[in-house]
Symmetry: D2
Subunit: 341 residues, 4 copies
C-alpha cells in the first residue's frame, strides 16, 4: 500500500537530519535565542526583501494560526475566511477557542476576493450587535490546491488597507504555491502585499516547523509572550531554526516543492488524458479527480488516499497528495493503473 | 563559557537521532497514529503498570499543563499550586489564558501538603463568590529541586480523593526525581497515586516531547480534540513517539537522569565542603547554592547560570543545572574553581 | 412618530412597578436568596409541571444564552443553530467569546429539524479535526416570527437524545409563541421536550429579566458559580424575582403576549388584504411584510421600523413589532395608512 | 432581626421608583440610546469636569470590572490588585475567566502604593516567561472601608504613567469614599488621576447600575461591542440611565452616602467608647470591630452581619454595613446593645 493521503507521511529531508546530528552537542541558549535562529532569520529576511520583518519559528499550522489571530484581534473582532479555509474547516474550533468568531464565505475556488470582503463588511454593519471584522485569512496554496495570482493578492491587500483590515496568509503549502506552473508571486511580493504570513515547513521537508513573518514590526510587539503563553515556545528552539536554515540556505525549500508539484501534475495529466474531470483546478501538490467508484475501489487496493466528496451515485472525488518524499516509481505505477482502469 | 543555565542547551541523545535517521523514510500515518506511537505507549503502560492508562505525546511542559488543566476543569473551577509551581511562576499566565484561576500556596520546599489543601478549601468556602478548587498541581522534582516521598504523595492523593479533587503531577524532571538518592517513588506508584501526570522528555534527552498519562481512561475521553484545538497535534507525530521509544526501550531515560543528578550532587558536595549553604535542599539536577557575590562574579567569567535570588548585601543564591549532556570535565573545572574560591 | 421597531420601547407593565414600590423597603437577602425568588420559582415549577426543575433569574437574552451554553459545553464542544438564530446573528460573537463555535444551518423558516441535525453530525465526523456538536439551540418564537409545533419539538428532542445532544430553547419571546393562533405547545411540553430553556421577560412586560429553567437538576449543578463569574448575579436579585412573580401570579404573562400578537395579526391581515406578501409566515408579534419602497417611504413619515431586507429594485421587506404596550390607536392608524397606500 | 449584612438589602431610593413610574410609557430607543442616557451622561460629565469622558451604564460591579479589564488588556497582559481587592477575592475568577491573570499584592490597609507597583514590575521582569502587568486596579472605598487621599491617588497615577500602566478605580462605594470625614478627593480629581473608573449605583440607592467612565475617549473606542458581547447591554437601557439621572440631578447620591457613613461612624464611636478595637481603620459605611465572641453571639440574636475573621480563641472581627436605607432606630438600638454589652 502506498500512501498518497498526505504530505507528512515521512520524516525530514535527509540534509535536515544531517545538520541536526552535526550541531547536536553544541551548547545554545534556549527558547529561540540560539545562533541558528539568528542566522535563519537573516536568510529569510533577505529572501522576502524586508529587513524590518519580525520572524518567529513555531511548530505547526493550527498553532501558528491561533497564535497570530488571537494576538492581533481585540475581544470583539473577528476573522474572515473562505468556508474551505483551514481555520474554518480543520482546526477543531481553535480560533473560537481563543474567543473569536470565524466569519465564513462560500467560494468556488477556495479564494477570497475584494467583493467577498465588501459584502461581509456590509453584512456586519449593525454595530454593536455583530462582531467587527478585522483580519482577512487566506491560504496559498488553498486547501483545494488553487493559488493566488499577484494581481489577486494585490487587489485583496489594497481592499484590506482601504477597509482597515489586516491580511494574513497561511502558507502551510506556500512552497507548492510559489513553484506552481501558473504562479507569478514571489516571497517578496507576499511580504509586500500581506501584513502577516507564514512559511510552512512541516509539509515541505521539515520534521515540524512554520516560520511566521510579521511584515510590519509594530504588529509583532510582544508576540513572544503570546508564544510562551499558548505553550508554543520550544525550550530547544534550535530544533526549528536549524530546519529552516537547511531549507533556505540553498533554496532546498523550492526544490522540494517543485518535485511534489511535478509528481501531482504528472498524475493529473494522466487522469485528464483518461477523460476524467476534477473537482478543483489545482496546479499544486493536491489534486481532486472525480472518478467512477469502481475505479476508486480498485485503486484502494494499492494506494491510500481520502475520498473527498460524493459526486453522484457512481462517482466521487478523491484527494491525492504528493510530497518531496514521494516515490517516483509509485507515481508511475499509479499513472499506469489509471490509464489501464 | 560553559552553560549551567539549563538542561536544554544541547540537542538530543545521539541514539534518538540515530533512530530518527533510521526510520526517516518509512511512511506512517500522521497525527499520532503512527506505529511508533503504539509501540511507545505499550512500553510506557508496562513501566507504570497500568494497562488502562491513556497516553498522548505532546511538545512541551507549558503546552501539556495548559492542555490537561483546561481540559479537566469546568468554567468555575480552579487549580491549586505552590507559589513556586511552574504554572504559577513561569508560564506567562497560560492557565489563566484558558479561563482558570491558579490558587497559589506559599511553601518552604516547593511541595504541597494535605494541610495546604484543606486550608485552601476553607478559604474558598463562600460559594458562589469564589472559584471552586478542583485540581491540585504538583511538580516532581519541584522547580527548586526537591522531591516527594512515597508517603507524601500517598497522603496528598488520599486527601484529594476525600475532597473530590484531581491530583495532577508535572513531571518535566520526573526522571531526575525518580533517580535522586533519597527517592522511594516508582513510576507505578506515581500512576497509582495521581490522576494524571506527565513524563518529561525535553529536559532529559529528547529534542522535544512530553508523555501525558491519564491513569483513568474516563478522564481522557475526547482529549484528542483538545490537543488539536490548542495547536498541539503534530502532523508528524512520529517525531515524538520515536523519541520516547528510544528513551524507554532500555531505560535510557533513567540512565540519563542519574548522570545529571550525579554531576549536580558532586558540585553540591564541593560547595558544601567549602562551607557554603543552599537555598533549598535539592537532591536532583538543579542546585541553589548561596555564594558570596565576589565568588559569583569570578564564576561568571567561565560559566553561565542564573542568579536566582538576592540574599543580602554580599550574598546571592544561584541556580546550577546539569543534564545528560553535561561535560564531566566542566563539572570538575567548576568544582576546582569553587574549592579554590 | 410611533415606534414599531421593537418590543422594548416602553418600561414595565404598571403592576410590576406597583409591586416594586410596595415591597421596596422590606429587607431581603441579596444575590437571589430573597423570599420573592422562592415564591416565583415555586409558581414557575408548577406552571411547567416539573418540581425538580432548577430555575435562575438573569438579566437578558444574550447573557442567558452565553451563560447556559458556555456552562454546558466542554472545551472542544460546539452548539448548532439556525443561521438566523440570535446567537449566530445578533450577539456580537458572545458564544465564540466563551470559546465555542456556533455551527450554523441554513433554514427557510428559522427552525431546525432532525434532518438538519443528522446532516451536521455527518459533516463533523472527522474527529479530532473538527469540533464536537453537543448542544442544539433553537428559538421559539424564532427571530423571524415562526413557531415550533408540538410534533416538531418532540421529534427534535428525540433526535437529540438519540445523538447524545442537549436541546436548549431560547424563549426571549416564548409568551408570544405560546399564545400564537397556530400554537399547540404548552409550558409543560417545553419542559418535557427540552433540556434547558428560558422564559423571556424583557420583551413581554418586564423592565429586564429572563428565567432560565434546567429541566434536569444535574445539568444545573454549580450554575450559580457561573452566574457570578460572568457578572450576571445581581446584588438586588429581588429586582428580577418580583417581576416574574407579578407576570406569572395571574397569567399576566400570557395576557400581555396575546395582546401583542393580536395587534400584529390585525396589521398582517390588512397588509394581506391589500395584496402584499410576507417574507416569513409569522403568527406572532413580529411580521415581515414585503412592500413597495414608495409605500415604505410614506410609512416612515409616521412610524419607526426596521427595513429588513432588499427584495428587488422596487420592494423591500420591513419588520414590524408590537408589544403589550403598543397603542391600539396607532395600530388602527397604521392599518388605515396601509389600506390607503 | 435587623440586617447590617450588606448595603443592598432594600430596593431603590423612592425618588428613583417615582421617576420610573413617571416615564414608564414614554417610548424610547433601546440599548442605551434613550434620551435619559444622554441627559444623565451630560450631568456626569459636568460633575467630573471632563467633557471628553465616555460613559456607559452597566448592571453590576463584577460585570463592570470584567468588561473594563478584559477590554483593555491584550492576551499576555495582567492586572495588579491588592489581595483584598474585589476582583481577587470575591468575583469567582471573573477576570481569569476572560483570560487574564490577577497579580495580587499583600497590603495592610487594602490600598496599593507606587512601591507595590515597582516591586511587582521587578518581580515580572523575566519576559516572556511571565505576564506583562498593564492595569493597576484599586477600589475606593476599599473592600475594608479605607479610602485613598488625593496625594496617594496622585502619586499612584504618576507612577502608572511613568510605567505605562493604566489606573482603573472600582467605585462600587465611591459615594461613601467621597463623603468620608477624612476625604479630600473629588469626582474631578478622580477623573484627572485615573484612566477609567466607575461610579457605583447598586450600593448607594439604585436598584442596579454602575456608571463606567473612560477619562480618555480613545480607551473607550468600540467598548459598546464588548458590552453587547458579554451580555451586559440591556434592551431597556432607560432602567439604568433614569436611576443615575435621579441620583445625580440634585446630588442625592452624596446625600445618601453621607447618611450611610454617619450611621456607621456613630456605631463605630460607641464601639470605641466601649473599649473595643477594629480590624481596619474605616471611615466609611463598612466597619470591622473586634468583639468578644460572647458579645457577638448576643448581637446575633437581633442583628444579621458577617463574622469576618477569627482573631483568637475568644475574639472575632465582624463586618457591619449601613446604607442610605438603614433605619436610624435600629442604629440606636445597636448602639445601646453594644454599650450595655
Amino acid at each position: 500500500m502506498y500512501n498518497f493521503k498526505n504530505d507528512y507521511s515521512e520524516g525530514a529531508h535527509p540534509r535536515i537530519l544531517e545538520k541536526l546530528v552535526e550541531t547536536n552537542l553544541i551548547q545554545q541558549l534556549g527558547y529561540g535565542e540560539d545562533d541558528y535562529s539568528k542566522e535563519a532569520k537573516t536568510i529569510l529576511r533577505n529572501k522576502i526583501d524586508n529587513q524590518r520583518a519580525v520572524i518567529h519559528f513555531l511548530s505547526g499550522g493550527t498553532q501558528t494560526n491561533l497564535l497570530v489571530i488571537s494576538f492581533l484581534l481585540r475581544v470583539h473582532e473577528a476573522v474572515i475566511s473562505a468556508k474551505t479555509g483551514h481555520i474554518s474547516a480543520n482546526e477543531t474550533g481553535a480560533i473560537e477557542a481563543t474567543g473569536h468568531k470565524v466569519i465564513t464565505v462560500e467560494t468556488v475556488d477556495g479564494k477570497l476576493t475584494p467583493e467577498d470582503i465588501i459584502k461581509t463588511l456590509n453584512d456586519h454593519a449593525l454595530a454593536p450587535h455583530v462582531v467587527k471584522p478585522r483580519i482577512v485569512y487566506i491560504s496559498n496554496s488553498t486547501e483545494i490546491g488553487t493559488i493566488y495570482s499577484l494581481a489577486e493578492l494585490k487587489a485583496l491587500y489594497l481592499c484590506c488597507q482601504q477597509q482597515k483590515l489586516l491580511l494574513y496568509l497561511d502558507g502551510a503549502r506556500l512552497g507548492h504555491a510559489l513553484t506552481a506552473e501558473n504562479n507569478d508571486l514571489t516571497f517578496a511580493a507576499i511580504a509586500k502585499y500581506s501584513d502577516v504570513f507564514y512559511i510552512g515547513g512541516t509539509k515541505n521537508g521539515a520534521l515540524l516547523g512554520e516560520a511566521v513573518v510579521f511584515n510590519h514590526p509594530d504588529l509583532a510587539q510582544d508576540f513572544d509572550y503570546a508564544i510562551k503563553q499558548k505553550g508554543a515556545l520550544l525550550a530547544k528552539g534550535r530544533m526549528l531554526s536549524i530546519q529552516f536554515l537547511v531549507l533556505f540556505k540553498d533554496d532546498l525549500y523550492f526544490e522540494l516543492a517543485l518535485k511534489a508539484n511535478s509528481f501531482a501534475m504528472r498524475m493529473a495529466k494522466a487522469i485528464k488524458e483518461k477523460g476524467y474531470s476534477f473537482l478543483t483546478e489545482s496546479t499544486t501538490n493536491q489534486i481532486f479527480p472525480i472518478l467512477p467508484k469502481s475505479v476508486i475501489n480498485t485503486l484502494l487496493l494499492n494506494y491510500q488516499f481520502y475520498i473527498w466528496k460524493e459526486i453522484d451515485h457512481d462517482h466521487a472525488a478523491i484527494r491525492l497528495i504528493t510530497s518531496w518524499a514521494t516515490d517516483e516509481t509509485q507515481v508511475e505505477n499509479f499513472i499506469n493503473d489509471i490509464l489501464n482502469s
